[in-house]
């Protein structure tokens, strides 16, 4: 075990898979000599050569489409979209095409590809370098969508994604890249896609979240110990397919649920989780299912005052938990 940052864990996952499987390739803008703008692919081109590590033109649609074509030929591409704000160009190839490959060929073809996408705010990225895109992706049947919160999960889930025979969108919260560090085995391991994890057991309220907000949720849960409120924290980790079973099992025990995410509230992952709880655990509820999410605004505003207003934080979560505890 070594303490690593999230970006180091992500790099390690790709490195291990590039070594283990000659079919694995990496492509994207600046992933070669530059090593990626976040250095996720640092030194890959030197080690694996420019036939496996491809600096592409600045053109996201073809990054996704070329990846799909590589997958058709039996290779296992890992594409990097430099910022989530640029992924829209690739939407046709991912939502329109890749998601329908297996279904549309009646199970004959598959599309083993991973698209890594840095996303999220809190980094002063403003309106066009901070977007949350998971709401537009998680409701696409045929895609798998992963959003890890920490280095250990990032490495294990990314390795699973690379080995998966389906198109997987791997969402990496930019603020976790260096701010979130943790112990990561130096050896190979995987974490199954589609399983949520109880990060902290509790009995009064289930806090359901993913990505960066998990860390604020954990802080809030610790703070509330002093108020005799026992909060269970559930990290979804995979947004499609959602782990209905673990969500329901937890909420049935606690009777209250607070769903937290930074993406805009309307139609977000939280809306689906709330519906799952309403349908599967209605009789166990002691309070309305509650959401604490990003506002319905286009994206993050630039000035720090406004950015703080958009983002979820420990204080906002603590307030919401106390209100729910008192219900």
């Amino acid at each position: 075990m070594t303490v690593k940052s999230t970006i180091e864990a992500i790099r390690e996952a790709m490195h291990e898979e590039l070594v283990a499987d000659p079919r694995v390739m990496v492509l994207g803008e600046d992933v070669g000599t530059r090593g990626g703008v976040f250095l996720a692919t640092q030194n890959f081109i030197e080690e694996f050569g420019e036939h496996r590590i491809i600096d592409t033109p600045l053109a996201e649609c073809s990054i996704a489409g070329v990846s799909l074509g590589l997958a058709f030929r039996g290779l296992r591409p890992i594409a990097e979209i430099q910022f989530s704000d640029f992924w829209w160009y690739a939407a046709n190839q991912l939502i329109g095409e890749a998601s329908r490959v297996h279904y549309g060929t009646n199970g004959y073809l598959s599309a083993p590809m991973v698209v890594r996408i840095p996303y999220g705010g809190g980094v002063r990225g403003g309106l066009f370098h901070s977007q949350y895109i998971e709401s537009y992706l998680y409701n696409t049947p045929g895609l798998k969508v992963i959003a890890p919160s920490n280095p250990y999960d990032a490495k294990g889930l990314l390795k699973s994604a690379i080995r998966d025979d389906n198109p997987v969108i791997f969402l990496e919260h930019k603020k976790t890249y260096r701010a979130v560090r943790g112990e990561v085995p130096d050896t190979s391991y995987t974490i199954p896609i589609g399983r949520a994890e109880v990060k902290r057991p509790g009995t009064d309220i289930t806090l359901i979240s993913y990505g960066l907000a998990i860390h604020y949720g954990m802080e809030a849960a610790t703070l509330l110990e002093g108020d005799d409120v026992s909060v269970e924290v559930l990290d979804l980790r995979t947004l499609r397919p959602l782990d209905n079973e673990t969500i329901l099992e937890s909420v049935k025990r606690t009777g209250k649920a607070l769903i937290v995410h930074e993406a805009s509230v309307t139609g977000g992952v939280g809306a689906e989780v709330a519906a799952i709880i309403a349908e599967g655990a209605f009789e166990y509820l002691d309070a309305p299912v509650t959401r604490l999410c990003g506002p319905d605004l286009p994206a993050m505003a630039f000035a720090p005052t406004m950015e703080d207003g958009f983002m979820v934080n420990t204080q906002k979560i603590t307030d919401a938990l106390l209100k729910l505890a008192a219900y």
Binding site: V66, R73, Y108, L109
Partner: protein, 344 residues
């Protein structure tokens, strides 16, 4: 090679064009028989559409020589992979897809190997053919074909990839991105643009400010060639050249602009009398690729009127047979709606 192409079929009786290209009389007759079959199949699909039995037809009439000439080059080469588009039913026939499977696929009955009734126009992919035709979102197949070619090159294979699309599709940003990528990596791809001068109803002059789409290839660093797409042998000849160029270490992609005609409306849902003049349609009919190949074979005495009549009779009988068989085939089980969403 000339846009209005009178030259290509020019040949002497002693050494006709097809023999110079290494095709025997019988091979070319077989090719003509397939084109006749494609025409009758297309007419039948349109008729079945009017009867409410085939929901959509994207007629191939007017682009058969392009679609089939490319396929003949690919098939005789033996190591080509195709990413066709929605007017390429004849391409699939040449590659060996049976008329029955074609008919079943268009009706949506059970038993096609491309999509199991999940898609129209026989889209999808089959383990039996070197073809991927995932969707009919125009332009989407270009970067996929480029990626496939990159994969072949990465694996050290000699496969050459063909991707076809229309003049309409050439306006998509995807087209630019794909050709640029292929140019950078000198990939073994043949970009085949069937230019019928109409994006449904929008004429070429409203789609682009140039006369020849092939001119664009220079911007991507590879050759663009204008081909008379109603001339089967010329398409075949240029396609073979493009295959050779794709495999040449100093070669790479080629852009073929196949000047074709659209003898029918865009699809069975379209009414082209709203935007085409009778004169324009008459001009198109004069460049009917089937009639052209017929004239070529007849001039050389390879095809007699009696033989021609026999070919059409047999094609009609075959299309009748597969129509009956497809109509009598079962529908896919409703449970096939589910399953195969994710690869295991």
């Amino acid at each position: 090679m000339s846009p209005n192409g009178e030259k290509a079929l020019s040949s002497t009786k002693a050494m006709p064009a097809h023999r110079r290209l290494g095709l025997t009389d019988d091979q070319l007759l077989g090719f003509y028989e397939q084109m006749a079959l494609a025409r009758i199949m297309d007419d039948r699909l349109i008729a079945l559409n009017r009867q409410g039995k085939v929901p959509l037809v994207a007629s191939c009439q007017g682009s058969e020589a392009a679609s089939m000439g490319l396929a003949l080059a690919a098939k005789t080469d033996g190591d080509c992979f195709l990413f066709p588009y929605y007017r390429d039913m004849p391409m699939k026939l040449v590659m060996g897809v049976s008329p029955l499977e074609t008919m079943i696929g268009h009706i949506g009955k059970d038993g096609n190997t491309f999509n199991g009734g999940r898609q129209f126009l026989l889209q999808g992919a089959s383990p039996n053919f070197p073809i991927i035709h995932l969707s009919n979102v125009v332009g989407s197949n270009l970067s996929q074909a480029v990626g496939y070619a990159l994969g072949c090159k990465t694996l050290g294979e000699d496969t050459v990839v063909f991707v076809s699309f229309g003049d309409g599709g050439s306006s998509e940003g995807e087209c630019h991105e794909a050709m640029n990528f292929a140019g950078v990596h000198k990939l073994p791809v043949v970009f085949c643009c069937y230019n019928n001068r109409l994006a449904i109803s929008v004429p070429q002059e409203k789609q682009m400010a140039i006369e020849n789409l092939a001119d664009r290839a220079a911007g991507y660093g590879f050759p663009g060639v204008v081909v008379d797409g109603t001339d089967s042998l010329e398409v075949y000849r240029i396609a073979k050249e493009a295959i050779d160029r794709a495999r040449d270490p100093s070669g790479g992609p080629t852009f073929l602009e196949l000047k074709v005609e659209r003898l029918k409306p865009h699809t069975s849902d379209d009414d082209d009398t709203r935007y085409r003049t009778p004169e324009d349609m008459e001009d198109s009919r004069r460049r009917d690729p089937l009639a052209r190949l017929n004239a070529y074979l007849s001039d050389l005495g390879i095809l007699t009127p009696a033989h021609d009549e026999q070919i059409f009779q047999e094609s009609r009988a075959e299309v009748n047979r597969v129509t009956d068989a497809a109509e009598n085939a079962p529908w896919p089980d409703a449970s096939n709606l589910y399953g195969h969403l994710y690869a295991p």
